[in-house]
């Protein structure tokens, strides 16, 4: 396998969270009762006239610009014809030869190196409905058309990706950018981001184009990475055994941990695209493009660079903090109001993210506010609580949304900095552990840490550590 390299291209579909559908005024909403979110247009009834949602065009241009694409001055919609029960018109409104955006790229970081992945095109299209298959061997399916007509972007990468890790990094960066510009929530688990992969392998260092397979049915970023790993292994084995890889569509089987051939739904894809006569051409003026460009927020890469220069963070920490706009906003709201931005970064990338993941939360649903974190750090600075106790306080703040001061009072967590009280405890610990004290006097440094630990234990972690150190040193 070491002698081979993979050639991978990704095709990503994202649902745009406009208020209404792409070509009709039905709400673009998830989770309604089946077939209650439809109208004659998205049902494909005869005689209706679809009209493009201006928000779809705005979002698509925004995405194109954020992905460094050229925006076509002239663009149009085409009909992609195929018969499937989830597609009421028997064609999907899509874009064929004149997509809205072309020739973009995004940069990914893998193992400390930056790679630029080309984006061939970004085009607009509509989603299909959903099929629910009958139980067991039932010979029928049920159709829900609520999703029919929901606006999608199809984002096609160049075959520039070389490893499964790069594929995952590409998807993470894409999700990050699209969330920053607020066009989609990009949740692969909920189907608002879907990804297919084209992959072939070839002897490393050559530019041979071998037959490729298309991999479908991957429903998490992790699944994409694992499916590609398994498919590279499979293709390498075929070539190594003197065989030939068949060009075909395969599905990722999570349980088997391998890709399996898919039965094709058409004898061949033959979509007979033609311009949709119901939708008029789209002419985008340079003014409109520059207005949308001006309105773009600071994007993740630029923000990460600024975090390293403005707050003195490492490139790695800046990358973690800026991957999500909500996280970067939270961090920055704290960092601007506290003397030590690096310390804030440690708390946010450490305890904060640990709890977000452990509690399975979205950052915007976290009760803890940036102001509360700053207040807690100031309590440490003032010596009211120790750094150790702060972790307990932080977790309580995170879960309840209460202020640090309140929690400290409620739970009696105020740091013990009273010299008399601590001296008494130090004395007790020294008397109770004559052997350890002797070890320390014979040069065993570890013995000292043990004694500090005993004092901490006796005070339930509330002793002021600097003071304990000084008092112990003086005593023994």
């Amino acid at each position: 396998m070491d002698n081979y390299e993979a050639v991978i291209g990704l095709e990503v579909h994202v649902e745009l969270h406009t208020k209404t559908k792409a070509f009709c005024s039905c709400p673009n909403e998830f989770g309604k009762e089946p077939n209650t979110n439809v109208c004659p247009i998205c049902l494909g009834l005869p005689g209706v006239l679809p009209v493009i949602n201006e928000a779809l065009l705005e979002y698509a241009i925004r995405a194109g610009l954020a992905l460094n694409c050229e925006i076509a001055a002239f663009s149009k919609f085409d009909r992609k014809n195929y018969y499937y029960p989830d597609l009421p018109k028997n064609y999907q409104i899509s874009q064929y030869d004149l997509p809205l955006c072309r020739n973009g790229y995004l940069d990914i970081e893998v193992n400390g190196a930056t790679r630029r992945i080309g984006i061939t095109r970004v085009h607009m299209e509509e989603d299909a409905g959903k099929l629910v298959h009958g139980e067991g061997g039932a010979d029928y399916s049920l159709v829900d058309l609520n999703r029919a007509g929901v606006p999608l972007l199809e984002i096609v990468s160049e075959p520039d990706i070389r490893t499964p890790e790069e594929a995952k990094a590409y998807l993470e960066k894409l999700k990050s950018i699209l969330s920053y510009i607020d066009v989609s929530d990009c949740k692969m688990e909920e189907g608002s981001l879907r990804c297919d992969a084209n992959i072939s392998v070839r002897p490393a260092g050559t530019d041979i184009l071998n037959p490729k397979t298309e991999i479908k049915n991957m429903n998490s970023f992790r699944a994409v990475q694992r499916a590609l790993e398994a498919e590279i292994k499979r293709q390498c084995a075929v070539w190594a055994a003197g065989g030939t890889v068949e060009s075909e569509t395969r599905a990722w089987d999570e349980n088997k941990g391998t890709t399996v051939p898919m039965r094709s739904k058409e004898e061949a894809s033959d979509y007979r695209y033609f311009p949709d006569p119901d939708l008029v051409p789209i002419v985008i003026s340079p003014d409109r493009v520059s207005r949308i460009r001006r309105e773009l927020p600071e994007l993740p890469d630029a923000r990460a660079r600024r975090f390293t220069s403005e707050y003195g963070l490492s490139a790695y920490d800046a990358g973690v903090l800026t991957a999500s706009r909500a996280l970067a906003d939270f961090y920055e709201a704290c960092a601007r109001n506290y003397r030590d931005p690096k310390l804030v970064s440690n708390w946010v990338t450490g305890e904060f993210l640990r709890l977000v993941n452990a509690r399975n939360l979205e950052i915007r649903d976290v009760k803890l506010t940036p102001a509360h974190l700053v207040e807690m750090l100031e309590l440490i600075d003032k010596g009211t609580i120790s750094g150790k106790i702060a972790k307990t306080v932080f977790e309580e703040m995170f879960d309840t949304g209460k202020r640090a001061e309140e929690i400290v009072k409620e739970k009696g967590l105020v740091q013990i900095s009273d010299e008399g009280e601590l001296s008494r405890i130090v004395e007790e610990v020294v008397t109770a552990n004559p052997g350890v004290v002797a070890d320390y006097r014979n040069g065993k440094e570890k013995a000292f840490a043990f004694l500090v630990g005993q004092v901490m234990k006796a005070t339930k972690g509330k002793a002021n550590p600097q003071l304990v150190n000084r008092l112990l040193k003086e005593r023994i």
């Binding site: 201006e54 010979d139 029928y140």
Partner: protein, 94 residues
């Protein structure tokens, strides 16, 4: 331009039409005459003519992103050959 029977069968499959042998032959002849007519048009010199993507001289018709009322369920399903609760019911494909 001669359309083969195989091509007629392919197009029929794409359109999910079951054709009898007699129909295949009849449509092959009819489709052939359509294609022959297109060939006549193809002879025109269009070197200096810009491609026509749309017959109307209109562009950029957009609507605001505002919700309108949806169709009542009973109306949505009233013409469905088969219904199952809230759903359209269709023959299973895969």
């Amino acid at each position: 331009m001669k359309l083969s029977k195989k091509e007629v069968e392919h197009v029929a499959l794409l359109a999910r039409l079951a054709l009898s042998e007699e129909e295949k032959e009849r449509f092959r002849a009819q489709l052939n005459s359509v294609l022959e007519y297109a060939e006549i048009i193809n002879q025109l010199d269009t070197e200096k003519v810009a491609p026509t993507y749309h017959v109307l001289p209109i562009q950029n018709v957009e609507r605001p992103d505002k919700e309108h009322e949806t169709l009542p369920l009973e109306e949505t399903l009233q013409n469905a050959p088969q219904r199952d609760g809230n759903y359209f019911r269709v023959p299973r494909i895969i």
